[in-house]
Symmetry: C2
Subunit: 322 residues, 2 copies
C-alpha cells in the first residue's frame, strides 16, 4: 500500500494543500468548517502526517521560562525586562513565574521543562530545595545561586560588592557599621558579601554587627525591625544594607529619628537598578550590571539548547555608584 500524502488529504477534503498544512500546524486563520473537513479526511484516510514524526524529533518550542521571586522588586522586574528583550531579539517568547514563598509554583514551571513545553529555564529564585533540581534533566541556567554542577551559574562578584561597600563606609569615617543581610543560607553566593564585610572589618580592627532580615519581610516589618535596632544601645554611624529598598527604609527610619544622612549616618545599598537610581540619584549603592547578567544568561541558555559546551560559572564585576 502506497503511503497516504498530504495531497490525498487535500483532495478528499476538497481543499488546498496549504489549508491542510494550516490545520495540521494550527497556523493562521482556520474556520471550523475547514478544520472539520480536514480532520474528517485525515480520519478517512488514516493519514499520519510527517509533521508528527518531525515535531517529535524537533521538540523546539521557542519558549523560555524565567522563575524569579517577585516582579514587585525592581531588581527582578528589570531582570525580566532585559531577559525578555534579549530573547525577543532572538525569536523566543518568555514565560514569567513569580515563585516567592511558593516552591510548588517553582516546581510547576520546572515541569514545563520535562513536558518539553519550554526549551529552557532561567531560574533566579531561591525557595525550592536544591535536591529537587537533581531529578530534572533539560536546559537550566541559574542566576545568583549554585544549584549543581550541571547548571551554569551567572553571578556578580558578591565578595567585591561587600568589600566596596564596607570600605566606602570606613572611608566615610564610620566606626560602628551594621551589616543588614537577607536570610540566604551559607551556600548562597550572596553570603560572600558578608564574608567580605567581616574581613574588611577585622582588617580595620572594627567590631562586626550582622542583622539578618528575611527578603520576604514587608516594608512594615522591615521598618519596625530597623527602628528597634536604632533604639538599642549601640549608636551606628554606618549601615551596609542588603538591597536598595532596605537602604531606603533605613534612611526613612533614621530621618524620622532626627539623624542627618551623611553627617550622622552613612548608608550603602545594593543592586543599583535604574529605577532606584532615577528616583534617588544621590544613593550610594553597589551596582550590579543587570543588563549584562540578563544577556549572558540568555546566551548561555541558548548555547546549552544548541548543545554547545558552557562553563559552570560566569562572574560579573560590580561597582560603587557615584
Amino acid at each position: 500500500m502506497s503511503k497516504t500524502t498530504i495531497k490525498d488529504v487535500a483532495k478528499v477534503a476538497g481543499v488546498s494543500v496549504t489549508s491542510v498544512s494550516r490545520v495540521l500546524n494550527n497556523r493562521g486563520y482556520i474556520s471550523d468548517q475547514l478544520k472539520g473537513k480536514v480532520i474528517q479526511a485525515i480520519e478517512d484516510l488514516n493519514y499520519t502526517p510527517n509533521e508528527i514524526a518531525r515535531s517529535l524529533y524537533k521538540n523546539e518550542t521557542k519558549a523560555i521560562a524565567l522563575i524569579i521571586p517577585t516582579n514587585l522588586n525592581p531588581f527582578f522586574s528589570e531582570l525580566t525586562f532585559y531577559i525578555e528583550k534579549e530573547l525577543a531579539n532572538l525569536g523566543y517568547h518568555l514565560y514569567v513565574c513569580n515563585s516567592l514563598n511558593d516552591s510548588n509554583k517553582e516546581k510547576i514551571y520546572l515541569e514545563l521543562l520535562s513536558e518539553k513545553k519550554v526549551d529552557g529555564i532561567i531560574v533566579g529564585s531561591h525557595n525550592m530545595d536544591i535536591k529537587e533540581y537533581d531529578k530534572i534533566s533539560g536546559n537550566i541556567v541559574s542566576i545568583e545561586r549554585k544549584i549543581n554542577d550541571r547548571i551554569p551559574m551567572i553571578i556578580s562578584d558578591n565578595y567585591l560588592g561587600g568589600k566596596l561597600a564596607t570600605e566606602e563606609l570606613i572611608n566615610n569615617d564610620c566606626k560602628s557599621i551594621l551589616c543588614i543581610t537577607g536570610d540566604q543560607d551559607e551556600s548562597s553566593p550572596a553570603n560572600n558579601r558578608l564574608v567580605a564585610y567581616s574581613q574588611v572589618m577585622k582588617k580595620n580592627r572594627l567590631k562586626e554587627y550582622i542583622y539578618r532580615m528575611p527578603f520576604t519581610d514587608t516594608r512594615e516589618e522591615k521598618t519596625k525591625k530597623i527602628r528597634s535596632i536604632f533604639e538599642e544601645d549601640i549608636t551606628f554611624d554606618g549601615v551596609f544594607a542588603g538591597d536598595d529598598l532596605t537602604a531606603r527604609y533605613v534612611i526613612q527610619v533614621a530621618e524620622s529619628l532626627g539623624l542627618k544622612i551623611h553627617k550622622d549616618l552613612s548608608v550603602v545599598g545594593y543592586d543599583g537598578t535604574s529605577l532606584i537610581r532615577n528616583l534617588f540619584p544621590e544613593i550610594v549603592t553597589v551596582v550590579q550590571p543587570l543588563e549584562r547578567i540578563a544577556i549572558k544568561s540568555v546566551e548561555i541558555l541558548l548555547d546549552m539548547i544548541k548543545g554547545k559546551e558552557v562553563k559552570s560559572e560566569y562572574i560579573f564585576k560590580v561597582e560603587l555608584s557615584n
Copy 2:
C-alpha cells in the same frame, strides 16, 4: 481494514502503551531509544493517533500573553505580578512581552493568538495602530485603552483621578497649577484626567497650563524639560504629574532650585504603586487599584475563553493617597 490502535503501536515497538502515550504527548522522561522505537512503529503501521484529532479540536494551551510597554515601570511590573499570580492560581502560564517603542513586537505576540499558541491576550500597551486589532479574532482584553467593540476594556476612573488631583492642589491654596500629561491621543481613557483638570480649573476661574511629555522620555529628558519649565516666567505653585516617576522628577528639580515642597510647591502624582508608596510614604498620589484591575482582567479573559458574555467596559474607582 481495521483501524490501528495505540496497542498495536506498543506491540510493534515492544514497549508499553504508557510509553507510547508519553512519546505522543511529549510528557515525562523519554529516552531517545524509546522515542526512536515508537516513531518507527508509528511509521511502519501508518498510525494516526486519536490525540491529533483531539488536540486539533481542543486547542487549549493554558497559556496567556500579557503585552505591556515595559517592566522597567513599576506600574506595569506590579500589573505583571498580580496577573501572573491570579493566572497561576487558575492553572495558567503567562507570557510577558515588553513592547515599548516596538509595534512589531506587539504584532508578533498577537500572532501567537492567531496561531493558537495562547488562549488569550491581555494588552496594556499602546503603540500599535488600533486598526490592526480589527483583523485579529480571538480572546483579548484591554487595560486602559479602547480598542474596538469586541475587546472589553478594564480601566480605572481617569476623570475621577484628574478631579481628585486638581481639587487637592486647589485645597492646598495653589493658584498656578501645571498639568504634566503623557503623549496619549485624545481617544485614550487617560485623556479624561486632562478633561477633569480643565473643568475643575475653569470652575475655579484658574488659568490652565498643560505640558505634554512623552511616556518614553528618559529621566534625563524629563528632568531637562521640567527644569526649563521652572526657569520660565510663570511661577507654578502646584503640579499634577501624569505618573509618580514624573512627580518625583518634578520634586527633584524643584528642590535643586531651592524650592520647598508643600510650602512653595505642591505635587500630586498618579498610579500609587506599592513600590513607590513604600519608597515615598509621604507621596500624594492618585492610587489605582492595580491588584483589582489585574484580577478583573484575568476573570474577564477567562470568561471570554469559556464563551461567556462579558461587558464592554469595567471601571474601577481611584482614590487619593493619605
